[in-house]
Amino acid sequence: MLDEALEHLVKGIVDNPDDVHVAERTLRRGRVLEVRVHPDDLGKVIGRNGRTARALRTVVGALGGRGIRVDLVDVDQVR
Protein backbone atom coordinates (compact mmCIF):
# COMPACT_ATOMS: atom_id res chain seq x y z
CA MET A 1 0.00 0.00 0.00
CA LEU A 2 2.77 2.45 0.92
CA ASP A 3 4.49 2.11 -2.44
CA GLU A 4 1.17 2.67 -4.22
CA ALA A 5 0.35 5.71 -2.06
CA LEU A 6 3.77 7.21 -2.67
CA GLU A 7 3.48 6.56 -6.40
CA HIS A 8 0.12 8.35 -6.47
CA LEU A 9 1.48 11.36 -4.55
CA VAL A 10 4.50 11.69 -6.85
CA LYS A 11 2.63 11.07 -10.12
CA GLY A 12 0.28 13.91 -9.27
CA ILE A 13 3.03 16.52 -9.03
CA VAL A 14 5.44 15.70 -11.89
CA ASP A 15 5.31 16.50 -15.60
CA ASN A 16 6.12 12.92 -16.63
CA PRO A 17 3.87 10.69 -14.51
CA ASP A 18 4.43 7.67 -16.77
CA ASP A 19 8.10 7.68 -15.80
CA VAL A 20 7.38 7.37 -12.08
CA HIS A 21 8.25 3.98 -10.60
CA VAL A 22 8.34 3.07 -6.94
CA ALA A 23 10.13 -0.05 -5.79
CA GLU A 24 10.33 -1.36 -2.29
CA ARG A 25 13.65 -2.89 -1.36
CA THR A 26 14.93 -4.37 1.84
CA LEU A 27 18.49 -3.50 2.63
CA ARG A 28 20.59 -4.46 5.62
CA ARG A 29 19.70 -1.17 7.24
CA GLY A 30 15.97 -1.60 6.72
CA ARG A 31 13.21 -1.01 4.18
CA VAL A 32 13.61 1.55 1.44
CA LEU A 33 11.04 2.95 -0.96
CA GLU A 34 12.94 3.95 -4.06
CA VAL A 35 11.19 6.49 -6.25
CA ARG A 36 12.45 6.81 -9.81
CA VAL A 37 11.38 9.84 -11.82
CA HIS A 38 12.20 11.45 -15.15
CA PRO A 39 15.47 13.44 -14.87
CA ASP A 40 13.54 16.67 -15.58
CA ASP A 41 11.29 16.00 -12.59
CA LEU A 42 13.94 15.27 -9.98
CA GLY A 43 14.17 18.91 -8.90
CA LYS A 44 10.42 19.03 -8.63
CA VAL A 45 10.11 16.06 -6.26
CA ILE A 46 12.95 17.37 -4.11
CA GLY A 47 11.67 20.95 -4.00
CA ARG A 48 13.24 24.11 -2.67
CA ASN A 49 15.52 23.19 0.25
CA GLY A 50 14.20 19.65 0.05
CA ARG A 51 10.73 20.80 1.06
CA THR A 52 8.79 18.51 -1.25
CA ALA A 53 10.91 15.47 -0.41
CA ARG A 54 10.32 16.20 3.26
CA ALA A 55 6.56 16.47 2.71
CA LEU A 56 6.53 13.11 0.89
CA ARG A 57 8.47 11.48 3.74
CA THR A 58 6.15 12.99 6.35
CA VAL A 59 3.05 11.59 4.64
CA VAL A 60 4.60 8.16 4.10
CA GLY A 61 5.58 8.14 7.79
CA ALA A 62 2.01 8.99 8.80
CA LEU A 63 0.58 6.18 6.67
CA GLY A 64 2.57 3.63 8.60
CA GLY A 65 5.97 3.93 7.04
CA ARG A 66 7.75 5.24 10.09
CA GLY A 67 11.37 4.19 9.84
CA ILE A 68 11.11 3.44 6.12
CA ARG A 69 13.57 5.38 4.03
CA VAL A 70 12.34 7.21 0.93
CA ASP A 71 14.98 7.64 -1.77
CA LEU A 72 14.40 9.88 -4.76
CA VAL A 73 16.48 9.09 -7.85
CA ASP A 74 16.19 9.85 -11.53
CA VAL A 75 15.88 7.08 -14.09
CA ASP A 76 19.30 7.77 -15.58
CA GLN A 77 21.08 7.24 -12.33
CA VAL A 78 23.05 4.01 -12.20
CA ARG A 79 22.88 2.09 -8.99
Partner: protein, 168 residues
Protein backbone atom coordinates in the same frame (compact mmCIF):
# COMPACT_ATOMS: atom_id res chain seq x y z
CA UNK B 1 -20.76 29.51 -0.41
CA UNK B 2 -20.28 32.72 1.53
CA UNK B 3 -21.19 35.37 -1.00
CA UNK B 4 -20.82 38.95 0.04
CA UNK B 5 -17.94 37.76 2.17
CA UNK B 6 -15.61 37.22 -0.76
CA UNK B 7 -14.55 40.69 -1.80
CA UNK B 8 -11.14 39.71 -3.13
CA UNK B 9 -12.37 37.35 -5.81
CA UNK B 10 -12.78 39.35 -8.96
CA UNK B 11 -15.64 38.12 -11.06
CA UNK B 12 -16.67 34.79 -12.45
CA UNK B 13 -13.29 33.88 -13.89
CA UNK B 14 -11.50 33.94 -10.57
CA UNK B 15 -14.28 31.99 -8.92
CA UNK B 16 -14.27 29.35 -11.65
CA UNK B 17 -10.51 29.10 -11.36
CA UNK B 18 -10.69 28.53 -7.59
CA UNK B 19 -13.44 25.95 -8.02
CA UNK B 20 -11.27 24.17 -10.55
CA UNK B 21 -8.39 24.21 -8.05
CA UNK B 22 -10.70 22.57 -5.51
CA UNK B 23 -11.65 19.83 -7.96
CA UNK B 24 -8.06 18.99 -8.85
CA UNK B 25 -7.18 18.90 -5.16
CA UNK B 26 -10.18 16.68 -4.38
CA UNK B 27 -9.15 14.15 -7.05
CA UNK B 28 -5.60 14.03 -5.73
CA UNK B 29 -6.68 13.57 -2.10
CA UNK B 30 -9.47 11.10 -2.90
CA UNK B 31 -6.95 8.94 -4.72
CA UNK B 32 -4.78 8.89 -1.62
CA UNK B 33 -7.69 8.02 0.70
CA UNK B 34 -8.68 5.13 -1.59
CA UNK B 35 -5.20 3.67 -1.76
CA UNK B 36 -4.60 4.03 1.98
CA UNK B 37 -8.10 2.68 2.71
CA UNK B 38 -8.96 5.68 4.90
CA UNK B 39 -12.53 6.87 5.38
CA UNK B 40 -13.24 10.48 4.57
CA UNK B 41 -15.29 12.75 2.35
CA UNK B 42 -14.02 15.83 0.60
CA UNK B 43 -15.72 19.22 0.92
CA UNK B 44 -14.87 22.05 -1.43
CA UNK B 45 -15.45 25.74 -0.95
CA UNK B 46 -14.01 29.12 -1.85
CA UNK B 47 -12.99 31.37 1.06
CA UNK B 48 -12.00 34.87 0.09
CA UNK B 49 -9.38 34.52 -2.64
CA UNK B 50 -8.50 30.92 -1.88
CA UNK B 51 -9.85 27.51 -2.63
CA UNK B 52 -10.65 25.66 0.59
CA UNK B 53 -10.71 21.88 0.66
CA UNK B 54 -11.55 19.79 3.72
CA UNK B 55 -11.36 16.10 4.41
CA UNK B 56 -14.20 15.31 6.78
CA UNK B 57 -15.64 12.14 8.21
CA UNK B 58 -16.59 10.33 11.36
CA UNK B 59 -13.60 8.07 11.61
CA UNK B 60 -11.59 10.35 13.87
CA UNK B 61 -8.65 8.01 14.16
CA UNK B 62 -8.07 7.77 10.39
CA UNK B 63 -8.21 11.51 9.98
CA UNK B 64 -6.06 12.20 13.03
CA UNK B 65 -3.36 10.18 11.34
CA UNK B 66 -3.46 12.61 8.41
CA UNK B 67 -3.30 15.64 10.72
CA UNK B 68 -0.31 14.47 12.69
CA UNK B 69 1.33 16.05 15.68
CA UNK B 70 0.63 19.77 15.64
CA UNK B 71 -0.75 19.50 12.11
CA UNK B 72 2.59 18.40 10.70
CA UNK B 73 1.12 15.86 8.26
CA UNK B 74 -1.68 18.26 7.32
CA UNK B 75 0.90 20.89 6.31
CA UNK B 76 2.79 18.30 4.24
CA UNK B 77 -0.39 17.21 2.47
CA UNK B 78 -1.37 20.82 1.81
CA UNK B 79 2.04 21.42 0.26
CA UNK B 80 1.75 18.39 -2.03
CA UNK B 81 -1.84 19.22 -2.95
CA UNK B 82 -0.82 22.75 -3.96
CA UNK B 83 1.88 21.26 -6.19
CA UNK B 84 -0.65 18.91 -7.77
CA UNK B 85 -2.90 21.88 -8.54
CA UNK B 86 0.06 23.85 -9.91
CA UNK B 87 0.93 20.95 -12.23
CA UNK B 88 -2.57 21.05 -13.75
CA UNK B 89 -3.20 24.80 -13.90
CA UNK B 90 0.33 26.19 -14.28
CA UNK B 91 -0.47 28.74 -11.57
CA UNK B 92 0.81 28.80 -8.02
CA UNK B 93 -1.99 27.78 -5.66
CA UNK B 94 -2.75 29.20 -2.20
CA UNK B 95 -5.29 26.50 -1.50
CA UNK B 96 -6.10 25.84 2.16
CA UNK B 97 -6.50 22.26 3.28
CA UNK B 98 -8.23 21.26 6.49
CA UNK B 99 -8.57 17.76 7.87
CA UNK B 100 -11.05 16.67 10.52
CA UNK B 101 -11.70 20.30 11.46
CA UNK B 102 -8.16 20.80 12.77
CA UNK B 103 -7.66 24.30 11.35
CA UNK B 104 -11.20 25.35 12.20
CA UNK B 105 -10.66 24.36 15.86
CA UNK B 106 -7.28 26.06 15.96
CA UNK B 107 -8.77 29.23 14.52
CA UNK B 108 -11.50 29.25 17.21
CA UNK B 109 -8.95 28.76 20.02
CA UNK B 110 -6.70 31.52 18.73
CA UNK B 111 -9.59 33.93 18.24
CA UNK B 112 -10.51 33.39 21.88
CA UNK B 113 -6.89 33.89 22.93
CA UNK B 114 -6.64 37.14 20.94
CA UNK B 115 -9.91 38.46 22.37
CA UNK B 116 -8.79 37.70 25.91
CA UNK B 117 -5.37 39.30 25.37
CA UNK B 118 -7.11 42.45 24.09
CA UNK B 119 -9.23 42.56 27.26
CA UNK B 120 -6.13 42.12 29.43
CA UNK B 121 -4.36 44.96 27.61
CA UNK B 122 -7.39 47.22 28.04
CA UNK B 123 -7.69 46.42 31.76
CA UNK B 124 -4.00 46.73 32.63
CA UNK B 125 -3.04 49.48 30.19
CA UNK B 126 0.12 47.44 29.51
CA UNK B 127 1.19 45.67 26.29
CA UNK B 128 0.45 41.93 26.32
CA UNK B 129 3.07 39.62 24.76
CA UNK B 130 1.92 36.25 23.47
CA UNK B 131 3.89 33.06 22.87
CA UNK B 132 5.75 32.59 19.56
CA UNK B 133 3.40 31.52 16.76
CA UNK B 134 3.38 30.56 13.09
CA UNK B 135 2.32 33.17 10.49
CA UNK B 136 -1.11 31.51 10.18
CA UNK B 137 -1.63 31.65 13.96
CA UNK B 138 -0.50 35.28 14.25
CA UNK B 139 -2.85 36.36 11.48
CA UNK B 140 -5.83 34.87 13.34
CA UNK B 141 -4.77 36.60 16.59
CA UNK B 142 -4.22 40.00 14.87
CA UNK B 143 -7.72 39.73 13.38
CA UNK B 144 -9.26 38.96 16.78
CA UNK B 145 -7.44 41.88 18.44
CA UNK B 146 -8.59 44.24 15.68
CA UNK B 147 -12.16 43.00 16.11
CA UNK B 148 -11.85 43.87 19.82
CA UNK B 149 -10.87 47.41 18.84
CA UNK B 150 -7.15 47.33 19.69
CA UNK B 151 -3.95 47.29 17.68
CA UNK B 152 -1.28 44.62 17.70
CA UNK B 153 2.09 44.07 16.09
CA UNK B 154 4.55 41.21 15.64
CA UNK B 155 8.05 41.28 17.07
CA UNK B 156 11.10 39.01 16.96
CA UNK B 157 12.44 36.70 14.27
CA UNK B 158 10.91 33.43 13.06
CA UNK B 159 10.39 30.97 14.63
CA UNK B 160 10.32 33.11 17.79
CA UNK B 161 8.11 35.79 16.25
CA UNK B 162 5.20 36.71 18.53
CA UNK B 163 2.21 39.01 18.70
CA UNK B 164 2.23 41.97 21.08
CA UNK B 165 -1.17 43.47 21.85
CA UNK B 166 -0.97 47.21 22.43
CA UNK B 167 -3.17 48.97 24.97
CA UNK B 168 -5.39 51.69 23.54
Amino acid sequence: MTEGNTPVVEGEDALTRLEQEGEIAADYLEGLLDIADLDGDIDMDVEGDRAAVSIVGDSGRDLQKLVGRDGEVLEALQELTRLAVHRETGDRSRLMLDIGGFRARKRAELTELGTKAAQDAKTSGEPVKLRPMTPFERKVVHDAVAAAGLRSESEGEEPQRRVVVLPA
